[in-house]
Symmetry: C2
Subunit: 502 residues, 2 copies
């Protein structure tokens, strides 16, 4: 691995213009099919800065994701509009006071037009008038507003609102599913940014691998990752809070939050589970590496690790358009159960275990999720697709068929979670599958997860992540061997089915 910085994609505003173009095409196709007129205005409100509780402390602003997708605007307080008839785009910027200029800097309205490459810019307080006058060709324009449910959070997006909106006709149902579906399929330019975030994060993970040693604190691993991504590659945001779990902590899936703030001392002989991803120009990555803190896999660590690696690789080799994601989840579960059975950690018929949903005891989360501007990118459950109810399966953030252009994480894991194992032991049917003596030996093991980001191609998929995955590769890199080797250092390695070259 070279110490030089990576080069981010050179396109920025072309990307967002492309996103708007795809939205307009999709909307026009939809309206045309329903026999509705091909005009109206898409209107979105960007995010606002929020203060922390009652104070004036303002956490670093991050744009709302749908607004970022269409306009790429970094600042708070904007509105954005797209005219469906002409495809023209307008940004409405907040009007600055003298105090704003002093505290936040002077900015000419026209500078936003140059920066964000839209057709027009106006002030927010002129919004109603501009919408009425600029686009009155077809009479008072119909406003398409964004309103719909995020199937991961259960929250609803808040439709744009402004003084005088009651005088416009509005449509709250059309835009959300269509815009969401646009976000599901990534353009080449979007892919370039996700690839960049992956390249940065892969490098930063390797930096952590090389610096980790017993006696350090978990938060130091977080610090190394964030610093590397920011200092060398300009990623000011991470896609999510870093999970730096070692030893038993790695059985807490979202370890690293305020109540478990990556603050344990690293023990010689324990495993580390590092789930960290950087974000660049809104687009993210989501990568997990698991490895022994001291750089040498012990036998039981190799067993669990290889069970997960086999599931990870097998899923990737099966991925292609048309494949159902729920089947990939079950495939991963089956491979994990087979491996555990081989080691006599569980016993019995694999089919019976699958029927009993035993896989969810070891992997209670879903196999993976769509990835883009959001770490859990929306569109996992479009209308008509119901979330399963069974353990494990109900944690899936999507059960869709794969389509060319999707980016999705593959993140099988195996954890020894006290509360789930106790439940399984108390259940007379589940209980008999376990070799409880063996399980006891793993009770403070924690867990292993391997997570890569995959781009679905016409024939298969491309692995955007480039971290050492085989145990011998990991041991070599942790001992100082170069990664990637000289002949495949151009972004991520890939083969027809997305497996890293070995």
């Amino acid at each position: 691995m070279s110490d030089s910085s990576l080069a981010p994609p050179a396109v920025f505003m072309e990307l967002h213009a492309g996103n708007r173009k795809r939205l307009v095409a999709a909307l026009r196709a939809h309206l045309s099919t329903s026999g509705r007129p091909l005009h109206g205005i898409v209107l979105l409100k960007g995010g606002e800065e929020q203060t922390l509780y009652c104070t004036d402390r303002v956490p670093l602003f991050r744009q709302e994701s749908y607004f970022a997708y269409l306009f790429g605007v970094r600042e708070p307080g904007f509105y954005g509009a797209v005219d469906i008839a002409s495809g023209q785009s307008i940004l409405f910027a907040p009007r600055l006071t003298l105090d704003d200029a002093i505290w936040n800097g002077e900015k000419e309205l026209s500078s936003f037009k140059d920066m964000y490459r839209v057709d027009f810019v106006f002030y927010v307080d002129d919004l109603a008038q501009v919408l009425r006058c600029q686009f009155s060709e077809h009479g008072e324009p119909l406003l398409f507003l964004l309103y719909g449910k995020n199937t991961d959070s259960g929250n609803y997006s808040k439709p744009a609102s402004f003084e005088g909106i009651e005088k416009f006709d509005t449509d709250l149902s059309t835009l959300h599913p269509i815009l969401t579906e646009c976000r599901v399929i990534k353009s080449d330019m979007e892919l370039a940014f996700i690839q960049y975030a992956n390249d940065v994060s892969s490098k930063a993970h390797i930096e952590v691998m090389r610096q980790i040693k017993p006696g350090m604190k978990e938060f130091q691993l977080e610090s190394i990752f964030i610093h590397h991504a920011s200092m060398h590659e300009g990623c000011r945001h991470c896609s999510y809070t870093c999970i730096c779990a070692t030893g038993h902590n790695s059985s807490t899936l979202h370890y690293g939050h305020a109540g478990a703030p990556n603050d344990q001392t690293l023990n010689d002989g324990d495993m580390a589970l590092m789930d960290m991803g950087a974000e660049y120009n809104f687009y993210g990555s989501d990568i997990t590496c698991s490895y022994p803190i001291n750089g040498k896999f012990k036998r039981n660590q190799t067993i669990v690790y290889n069970a997960i690696l086999r599931a990870h690789n097998d899923v990737i080799s099966h991925m292609q358009p048309g494949v159902r994601w729920i089947d990939m989840h079950k495939l991963a579960e089956q491979r994990i159960l087979e491996s555990l059975k081989k080691e006599n950690i569980i016993h019995g018929d694999i089919g019976d275990m699958m029927n009993q949903r035993l896989g969810a005891v070891f992997m209670p989360h879903g196999l993976g999720h769509l990835l883009g501007i959001d770490t859990h990118d929306p569109g996992g459950y479009p209308k008509g697709l119901e979330r399963p109810k069974e353990p494990g399966l109900r944690s899936l953030r999507t059960i869709r068929e794969l389509k060319e252009g999707m980016v999705i994480t593959v993140e099988p894991g195996c954890y020894f979670i006290g509360t789930l194992l106790r439940h399984a032991k108390d259940d007379p049917i589940s209980s008999k599958f376990f070799n409880w003596e063996k399980i006891e030996m793993y009770k403070s093991f924690g867990g292993v997860r391997i997570e890569s980001n995959l781009y679905v191609t016409a024939q298969g998929c491309k692995n955007l992540t480039n971290c050492p995955r085989e145990t011998w590769e990991i041991e070599a890199v942790m001992a100082g061997a170069p990664w990637p080797s000289r002949d495949d250092c151009s972004s991520a390695t890939t083969t027809k089915n997305g497996l890293p070259k070995t």
Copy 2:
């Protein structure tokens, strides 16, 4: 400066217990004076995790500051109560589901009692019943809730609410001013944490000074600071978004936000203005260093820098209990104007300039603010104290008399802000004070700020910040000289009037 880590204070929960004790004493004194019964229950609601817009992305939780002050709880979703009669404290923790245990970790209720050293712990859903039964000695208890205005943001704190609260008598006016006043005067334990945050930040600033060079990007300076504070000293939060402004950017007071994300390339010959502070166990620091990117002060940089240093030092030498902060602000303005006049950048009578509020053209912000769990700690304008209306003075976050135990920032600055200079030029009275030819030479200079954190003592004040301040010290440290020198490396240097040793 040694490369070894600093040692944070060993007390944690004693600090918060001490804070509760002081609140109870202050409340009892107040109730007693007003002839009211000396019982009732202080009830606060801690912060909740917030998702970003409609997504399930959850920024790292930071506890609400009043709640942090009294209970030190790191996790979201808690309530906390203090019984005024007995001084006993109770925490109410959210009841976890099986899913919570899997995703966020298992935690026994009793573990919170041990961790946070309170007298009782219960679940949130038992709150109404516990309040009614546990403290029924004096009949149904009166609940003292937190409701009041933050004078920096203009926001109001949200009083605790829970199912069944309507059956209790509540008092919304007593608690806020008393609890706020408790926060204004720092205990020794609180001071120890603010000192630690200062020690960490001083070291991290020096690290930045040593690594800065032309050609770097501003965000790299931010990254070095954050990494140093986190990696070596365990500070996971900064007190505020880093301001890493170079050249002309340093005339934007809150540069570094999303619209101006510290992304300029560093130019040889420009000044850097670095306003960054780490936070530890909720307590913060707020430090600004200004210096030339290439490590050598040019003549005009020395002029502006020394004008500010003189104001900074002169204010500190005057600080002691009873001194009015607005007078310190004016003293700083006067010193700056005197220095600028000496260099013929302005001309005329200093008294006339002061009457004309000319100081606010060069320093439109306030001289400093209370500092503690919030960067802009509350209590700057207690009841009866009105915010001034004049330019510059109206930006003061407090105009109080200094009291022993206050921690306050001293941060004079001088900036060449286009919009303010244009206004001054257009004003026939102000205009005549300026030597516009000279001003033109500074138009892309940016600005200089020097900011230290001061603890008001009985006789004067103690400077908690320990960064090189004299131009020759800065040049030496940037060239690799040790800092602090061997004989004063124990936390911050101090003299009777808080000036750093030179």
